[in-house]
Symmetry: C2
Subunit: 342 residues, 2 copies
């Protein structure tokens, strides 16, 4: 190994990298991240969850080795972000609802570490998004913050005392399960009336479909070519952008529900910033604006005017960057996986 | 000043004390607290809020001086806990709803410091309760915790990373304002359907009065000697303890609502412990048990079996001890009032 004469230990350390993995229900993303959080190299492929945990993890390990080969001797750890209930301390998935088999008690970090020779760390995907947005994105420098991602589900993460809050088992931040209506529709979690049943992507699609089935005058039917399955949140957003009043109403209603949940989180945490993102919450869109407006209108016990609402700064890369950054933080604190913070 | 030969600076410092003030709508409590959190001396008197902020603060200053005289040269600071929206950094009350005049922009710490010659620090009373229960009480040693006090209002405080979370302006912890029913009754805060309108002391009294007015068979009418104003949460608890099914139902209903709000806080923070106290939430009572049961039954995204529910360990002294302890912490961190933690 060559080392330039004037190079200090510190500057050598700055060249160290980590690999982040973002395991989604559809796509598997991996990225090599440098010490400044920049993406050096990345790859994306279909998750192919039907192959089972063992094969998917083998492909993850292969991808990590390939990316690590691009920075020989400089990759120090792997962070794996999963949309799952996990045991962070043990590095084990408990329940991964979006993949076949749901991966009960799959020891992800043990397998990835064995197959790559690198220390591996597990983190929930939305907590990874929160770590990224706090360390490198929209919430940078804040002491207290909330990051929320709206997609098929609604998840989030908290920052307090300038570090991500993990809570028991790393499950802090599940703000989609604040109960908004005692006798509301049944949520996937088992409760009735969680924010998620009113404000998630599926809730938007279902409400739009209901409007079409009711015979409301809307462009949605034509946009979907009469196929109800084609009525996605993205299609509703497209119709709304074209001025369709039904689509606008559907998005604003869902966004308002999210805003009421956000008002609860704001009363609880009094954050400096609310970072709102995810595929469904497009910055500047009807949903996003309705959510901010409802959160502000329903916050009376916090100095709401001082709270900033912002879209994520890292876009779709936040998950994979956050997973890599988490591994870096874990290594920096001696590998105490459950207690480190961003 | 005499100093024993073998005495170190550290053991001298251990003898230092602080004074805590708990300014309630009815009573004013002050206590001299030593470095171990023990009450050395205390006093209690009616608040007499009708005298106005200036006179009340003058009496507080007199009380502080009297208590400080009992430990000459050893009292280093005063902490004032108030049931108010405050500007912690400035040490100013913004709104104190339970006292005449509501104390808008009253500079409490400036006045108390000027009149006592001691550094003074301001904290919300429920955050003081949280500091006390975390530093010296039921939540001692935890990394992540929630403390909730139920009385006329419902307030609380959060612990994350082993320190109290203040949030913007010190207003984190207002868990009584999670919205549980979109079209619920109007709350004092301005929202509809906050947990407070269903689960606070006034909510319990009002629901019990409604049952009496409706002509339900209940011992409450006799216990109150036909005087509706005598139907307090304490009277309802007395009737329930005597087996009155209407009183039991009223308490269990209110406790269940609180439990639904707690489920939201648990999903958000995933705490190790929920400390539940305040005049209305008597440990082991119908309300307390219903709250715990509903919180557990409605928590599906956290490992709820690992979460402990406990009553406060410091009882009615938690507020005054917490205010004193807060002053000690503030001094220990150089007086940076807004950023220190328990």
């Amino acid at each position: 190994m060559r080392r330039a004469g004037g190079e200090t230990t510190s500057s050598v350390r700055k060249n160290l990298c980590t690999v982040g993995v973002d395991l989604g229900g559809t796509n598997l993303k991996l990225a090599l991240i440098d010490a400044q959080g920049r993406i050096i190299d990345q790859m994306i492929e279909p998750t192919r969850g039907e192959e089972g945990a063992e094969r998917v993890l083998a492909r993850i390990a292969t991808g990590v080795r390939r990316l690590a080969a691009a920075a020989p001797g400089r990759v120090v750890a792997v962070g794996v972000g999963v949309p799952a209930l996990i045991d962070m301390e043990a590095g084990v998935v408990l329940d991964l609802p979006n993949l076949p088999g749901r991966w009960p008690r799959v020891p992800v970090t043990d397998i990835v570490a064995r197959e790559t020779g690198l220390p591996a760390f597990l983190i929930n995907d939305v907590r990874a998004f929160t770590v990224a947005e706090h360390s490198l994105g929209a919430a940078q420098g804040t002491e207290t913050a909330v990051c929320v991602a709206v997609g098929t589900g609604i998840g989030g993460g908290l920052i307090a005392h300038g570090r991500v809050v993990l809570g028991l088992g790393g499950s802090a931040g599940e703000v989609g399960h604040l109960i908004l209506a005692l006798d509301g529709p049944r949520c996937g979690c088992g409760n009735r009336g969680c924010a998620e049943v009113f404000a998630s992507g599926p809730a938007i699609a279902a409400e739009a479909i209901r409007r079409v089935l009711q015979g409301n005058t809307t462009t949605l039917r034509d946009l979907a070519d009469g196929d109800l399955a084609a009525i996605t949140p993205a299609l509703v957003a497209e119709a709304a952008a074209g001025g369709d009043p039904v689509a606008i109403e559907v998005l604003e209603r869902a966004g308002t529900y999210l805003g009421l949940a956000l008002a609860g989180v704001i009363a609880t945490l009094a954050p400096e910033i609310v970072v709102l993102g995810g595929g469904v919450a497009q910055p500047g869109g009807f949903y996003w604006r309705a959510a901010e407006a409802a959160a502000r209108a329903n916050s009376h016990v916090t100095e709401i005017d001082r709270i900033v609402f912002a879209p994520p700064a890292l876009g779709y890369d936040a998950g994979v960057i956050g997973a890599a950054w988490w591994a870096k933080l874990a290594i920096a604190t001696g590998g105490e996986r459950a207690v480190v913070g961003s």
